[in-house]
Symmetry: C3
Amino acid sequence: MQVRKFLPAVALAAVLLPTMGLAQEAEAVPGFDEIGPYIMTTLLFCMAGFLVFFMAAGFAMLEGGLVRSKNVTMQMTKNIALFSIAAIMYWLMGFNLMYPADWTIANWVGPFFSQTVLDPVGIAAADANLGYASIGSDFFFQLVFVAATASIVSGALAERIKLWPFLAFVVLLTGVMYPISGSWQWGGGWLSQAGFSDFAGSTIVHSVGGWAALAGALILGPRLGKYGKDGRVNPIPGSNLALATLGTFILWLGWFGFNGGSQLAMGTVGDISDVSRIFANTNMAAAAGSLAAMILTQVMFGKVDLTMVLNGALAGLVSITAEPLAPTLFGALWIGAVGGVIVVFAVPFLDKLKIDDVVGAIPVHLFAGIWGTIAVVFYNEGASLMTQLTGIAAYGVFTFVGSAVIWYVLKMTVGIRVSEEDEMKGLDMSELGMEAYPEFSKG
Amino acid sequence: MQVRKFLPAVALAAVLLPTMGLAQEAEAVPGFDEIGPYIMTTLLFCMAGFLVFFMAAGFAMLEGGLVRSKNVTMQMTKNIALFSIAAIMYWLMGFNLMYPADWTIANWVGPFFSQTVLDPVGIAAADANLGYASIGSDFFFQLVFVAATASIVSGALAERIKLWPFLAFVVLLTGVMYPISGSWQWGGGWLSQAGFSDFAGSTIVHSVGGWAALAGALILGPRLGKYGKDGRVNPIPGSNLALATLGTFILWLGWFGFNGGSQLAMGTVGDISDVSRIFANTNMAAAAGSLAAMILTQVMFGKVDLTMVLNGALAGLVSITAEPLAPTLFGALWIGAVGGVIVVFAVPFLDKLKIDDVVGAIPVHLFAGIWGTIAVVFYNEGASLMTQLTGIAAYGVFTFVGSAVIWYVLKMTVGIRVSEEDEMKGLDMSELGMEAYPEFSKG
Amino acid sequence: MQVRKFLPAVALAAVLLPTMGLAQEAEAVPGFDEIGPYIMTTLLFCMAGFLVFFMAAGFAMLEGGLVRSKNVTMQMTKNIALFSIAAIMYWLMGFNLMYPADWTIANWVGPFFSQTVLDPVGIAAADANLGYASIGSDFFFQLVFVAATASIVSGALAERIKLWPFLAFVVLLTGVMYPISGSWQWGGGWLSQAGFSDFAGSTIVHSVGGWAALAGALILGPRLGKYGKDGRVNPIPGSNLALATLGTFILWLGWFGFNGGSQLAMGTVGDISDVSRIFANTNMAAAAGSLAAMILTQVMFGKVDLTMVLNGALAGLVSITAEPLAPTLFGALWIGAVGGVIVVFAVPFLDKLKIDDVVGAIPVHLFAGIWGTIAVVFYNEGASLMTQLTGIAAYGVFTFVGSAVIWYVLKMTVGIRVSEEDEMKGLDMSELGMEAYPEFSKG
């Protein structure tokens, strides 16, 4: 429609009469009882999709706030680049690979070389998939999920990894690895058939990102100076906690789309009510994770630690993601609170192992993701602990081994780590020649 | 739904046929004429709810930008903590206390000890409250309002209050005080019965936050060095006006949910049109408040004052909140503009009284809140000035006295103010041991 | 509705019975088949409107991040002020001027002096424009577009233009120039009748902003020190690339509303599916523009340039804006990628001409806007290259000449440029007396 004008009242009749005319031939034009659910679910994917899209900004701000100022330009570059790569790779192969029309491994050969094709413009109701939603909305919603997975990796490996090898990893993660393992469950594959349950991706998205990050952190090694020769852990404070807090709030906002949109339907009383249940539970888990980390750091260290509180909120969110619908609000509270507790113990635990995770991505996304996947059994009667553990293990083995192979090959060929000198100088100047805050002198 | 796949065209018939079958037994499955309003209103609460949720980030950025850099970590901590506490307290007692099924004071005893229970998963249309919305959506929407109230207090008392006593106050404000006084009007209580009118909470949310802040500011006292012995007022500039501006824009965005969602219905032509009226009016009031403050500071001081412009926009928003529906756009303009004018006069007025309000929360939320509540009478024929003043006074007395008692008890027991030395050093290092911008040397 | 309470189950019957009663007199109360499209489209405008509103924050952050820290307070002030002015001018005359009920130039006399009037409160279905949407939603959606145009100008002319003359220009741009030229196409005027095609405003919004910026940049002249006497271009780095990245992500988010809302309908299967197509294409074009700029800067300069990547994403978005619906995803990819390439070549090209565009607004909004308008012909069969070029030229001549006259008159009367001394000192201290980051010492 090119003319964007509102019609004056006098023109009203001309608009209404044909509409009413159509209403009388109800067989020809389907009414809202038939098209309403399709419209609402497509809207859900659009809305939830833009919320999850915005999580890209959230990850960028969180990570940009938690690295030193000499690596902020790089962190921004990685975050916008990884989102862009995810968008293209997921169109090129990921979406069809993840959702083959009929799930058998043989059916994957085609999708490896196929590209996503949207519904035709102005699709007629008779041609649309009225039982679900438009392809465009579904594609957009699934696409923003895969980008979240890649963001997780970016945070953990910050401050020492080279730009292009990192992006090469993102190509394979978003185009191949995530879609293949995702299809096991969300594409109707073997785990789905086995009864595995992961509503919005505690395992499929978050722990997958966490495993990829863990493999990378092990092969890449810690930042210079992080672990002293005497076994001391040297804290490296983030350069901008206001930014990190903003990032956390943006992620929390985006999570309403992440979990709420995963209801995958909004056109019935039951579905929209469930979406709202999910909103309430998601919010509760984040609140509980944040408070749990706050209280625990006060008790353990005598001081509240803001970075733990932020990660506690995120861990609460990851924890509830595997089952944000079934729990009561109290259930969401304690599941999220356990997530917050996990973070407070896991961050020093990783340091003890000399695994350097710059932003705490592994505790938040991997450990709390595992916890959330297990916690499904407490409120979802259809879930079994064994199947949940099977799923966790399957994703863990596949992603960790696959990622390790990729990281190792990259390391042996192009190299993944900047030189010591460049790392000291900061990646912004050494790799990109551009400071994020050129005017603020460093203390 | 665990399998997130779109159905290929060949599977369409299988989806459509049962749907069509159901459509024929219309008595059994209610059609969109019956369920549409419920679906739309539930969606309104979810959407408006996530917008209002994001105001938590807006308050955090606004406050983080207006305090000195040595207190930014603390301000971030307080903001994420107060939201988390509000979420939990409102579930634990606030929501049921505020909306007793049948409003008599006797009916409050139960809610004091009750917790919010959501609709069952996948609720059937026959069991749902089709005349309104799902409990989850309603609860979520109301919850994010109470957090806004607490945020107001956090800004005014910044840079000198201790963390835990502040949070103790938040527990009582969000769990007890706000729900009780809120129920007078929104729970169908005595003020509602008396004809008081406050559409989205100029009084019930904003001035309540303002009164609590005022009581706190009086008992806490001003920051060191703010008021010289010779009566001079020493301006203490905010550390990051980009952040403060971002916060203001986020709050402005969230206000579309705050006021628009308060229509409490979106499933009829009249209701959705009213929501859009509210959007237009809300936007106009903010624009007018901002411009009024800009012009006035230019005229009075010879220079535009950005912090006044930001607060002017917010005051415009608070002013229109009591009645964003009835006014014409011109009405919204002048009501909002008066809000902006109030801020420009009220900020120095408070300084004259040596009431130290770090971010201007009292002018914006209390004074403009009172103004907005009075302004209802200009466009809403059902409102009477006397009843509006009665409501304003009732909320003022209850909240100011209640808050003063709590602040005083906290002061006498655990103490609410950090030591002079800690205040000079900044709360970030003294209370939390973590700087927000550790690398930027201070000029 | 003043009582915000959910009804207990026992009250359900009282709610349902009348509803059911009404359903039986279907002639009296129109059902969802008649009102559903109106409700959905009004909702689309509200949703898309708040997303586009938030672009104001995106522009502010982008610009605030790309100027030097001594001009950040000014950039914040300009951005909130221009949005406020746009909101008021568009109500005062712009909206009716742009959408005269019946498009002939004679019909413009009235709108010059008319103000927008919203639908009455609680409008009945019989009185509403059921073929479209509520006036409030339409007005709000169109209003946020005009503000975007003004934001473009603000970025290009940063760091040397005086506040009030800039705002005077905004008054004329948003109240008169944009609405008049906008009506040629979106008001049903001569370009619309000639078959020009610009879905969401590559030309009507973005290149108009770009032309106004170009005229201003030429008349205002470059910043001191930008172009050396020896012909050297001195790069002036932005002060906060984290902020600039945040701004880019916010703009990207807002663009889903910008393009998606321009479908102007959401209440049929075809329309909502088209909205989702637009989301997918818009996202793809941004991703492609960003990656194209990244790869190209690596190849050309040996280093990725983050500011080019950010502007590449924005150029991709501008490029797809003229036709976000018709292209395939691959079409969106290459159209967006060309946008990113344009930016990388256009930024140094403008420098060669000594046209100083602080944030790259002219490459992004004008050059990519022209490209996007031409690219319509590749996927929209109804578009002709000649008509597209006619439209581009018409908007260019009108806006460039009109803007140049205004800038020139302002220059000759009140002056548009600060003194050299003030420019060196920075506009924050010289014009506003308030630093954005008073505590961060400058390196």
